[in-house]
């Protein structure tokens, strides 16, 4: 009996190794079902004693809080692909305006030719440098440009690759950002010109414009100058539509992202951002509640964020110090430890992000 058991064990282990060998030599064609995602948690301490900096996520002060669990599945067979990504947690809830909705990406894609791809569904926006998933950002807190721009767009797009260095995406998207269904129609036009001027430098020139959503022009670029040093830049300007769902203000700004790897496990990075809320066309419509992530109309803010990424396998620890300064007290929503209006706010965040 023991001999039989031994033989069974050996056979099972041999089968296991054989299976592993077969799995590991598969190449890109018809890749296996891929599971990906992340979980994140953080502690934030605003030096005023209460939460001040209004950009997206990491909103709880003096609390060990959670971001979200993000679970994605994707599969490619031949020329057809799908991506489905679900998320749960406060970070999800703050990224999708419709309560109870939990989808970050849900789209299907088909390569019509080797150069032309068609994609339809609900997907992360093509605008901007930062993203909702904490694994896609170097800094844990987010920029004003990210907070005030679109997060997702639902629609249909075609992407044509002219060469390895130039491609163009053009699509038609729902009239409102960040929601699965349109309010009235599919009337936002979006386009992205991708250029790779030199190896390891990619620039994206983006536009999204529609009678409901307004118009945003955006430049997002990143250059891995050496193996250790990367420089990113995001600049954007937004003008609201006359009948804007989001209010009657516009914004403009620029953010620079230098990052340097100081060891195998540690990378240091700075985000230096200037952001300005344009004068409202009708100031009476302005409310802080409607525009929580921006200075008051006419005001500008300079945000400096120093962040470290410390990697331990799939886990990344992100300690971060941030200091934001608004140009004038009357444009600021910051308050000091006594609750009095002030022009500056600062915070420390320690986050942990596990990616799989």
């Amino acid at each position: 009996m023991k001999k039989k058991f031994l033989l069974l064990l050996i056979a099972a282990s041999a089968f296991s190794y054989a299976s592993k060998a077969q799995d590991t030599v598969k190449t890109t064609a018809d890749a296996p079902l891929v599971l990906y995602g992340s979980v994140d948690t953080y502690y934030k301490d605003d030096f005023s004693g209460h939460a001040n900096i209004p950009t997206s996520f990491a909103s709880d002060n003096n609390s060990v809080s959670i971001g979200m669990i993000d679970l994605g599945l994707k599969k490619t067979v031949g020329n057809a692909s799908f991506v489905g990504e679900l998320s749960f947690g406060p970070r999800n809830d703050q990224s999708i305006p419709t309560s109870g909705y939990h989808i970050q990406n849900l789209y299907v894609s088909y390569n019509l030719t080797s150069k032309l791809n068609a994609t339809a569904g609900y997907m992360s926006t093509f605008i901007g440098y930062e993203v909702i998933s904490p694994t896609g950002n170097f800094n844990y807190s987010t920029s004003y440009l990210f907070t005030n721009g679109p997060f997702q767009n639902a629609g249909f797009k075609l992407t044509y690759a002219f060469s390895d260095k130039v491609s163009l995406m053009a699509g038609i998207f729902n009239d409102e950002w960040n929601v699965y269904t349109s309010a009235h129609d599919v009337s936002t036009f979006g386009a992205q010109l991708t250029i790779t001027p030199v190896k390891n430098w990619t620039a994206y020139l983006n536009v999204a414009t529609g009678p409901t959503s307004g118009t945003e022009f955006d430049l997002t670029t990143a250059y891995q100058i050496t193996t250790a040093f990367k420089l990113g830049l995001n600049a954007a300007t937004f003008s609201p539509a006359h009948y804007s769902f989001g209010g009657t203000y516009g914004f403009e700004g620029v953010a620079l992202y230098p990052q340097i790897a100081v060891s195998k496990a540690v990378t240091l990075g700075l985000r230096e951002e200037y952001f300005k809320t344009k004068e409202a066309s009708d100031p009476t419509l302005w409310t802080v509640e409607a525009h929580p992530g921006a200075p008051l109309p006419g005001g500008s803010v300079l945000g400096s964020t120093l962040t470290a990424n410390i990697k331990a396998g799939p886990l990344t620890f992100i300690p971060e110090v941030r200091l934001d300064n608004v140009n004038k007290k009357e444009n600021s929503t910051f308050t000091d430890s006594n609750g009095a209006p002030t022009t500056s706010a600062s915070q420390f965040v320690l986050a942990a992000v596990y990616a799989f």
């Binding site: 064990l9 799995d23 590991t24 030599v25 890749a31 296996p32 891929v34 789209y107 430098w201 799989f356």
Partner: protein, 194 residues
Amino acid sequence: MKKLFIALLCLLAVKSAVAQKDLLSIDEHNKYIYYQVVQQPGLTVDTFQNRTAYFLKINYPKNKVNRDEPTESITGTGKLLMLTGISAAKHIDGEVNYTFNIEYKDQKYRYWLTDFVFTPYYVDRYGNSVPQPGIDIPLENGASKLEKGQLNNYSIQISNYSKQFGDRLKQYMLMISATPIKSDKKKVITTKDW
């Protein structure tokens, strides 16, 4: 007896891992290499070349291939994905680009895969796994850039891939006709005449 089982299993696991990693050697340029010389009596250089070209076309259609007539060799580049995770759902860690060389003499050929360079992937905003631009790690520098477990895992995957490349090549070299084996048309049965 129980201890014997466990010891045997451990031994089996260690031997298997070591054997897979040992398929890669170091060449005179201090680069990892998978190198084989294969004797194939009765075959000429022309036959080897034709069968290799067909082998690459069928099995590695995305590889870039250069055919060098004067030196009677075929070279090229290819890539493979580095996967981790359970077999039902994989995570793509990155890709390894490599070069391959196949040279011929009458009745024998040799081939080698080398210049293994790992590029990590990241998941972009759309959920796609894409290469991180500017991060290229030669396998020889892996010890200083990658974690030990990662490096072992990738070395095993590269070894398996290289071995499979060689085994498939050998199969095609042995084929009497290097053309696809067409299946016979199914015999049509008529029920009228019997």
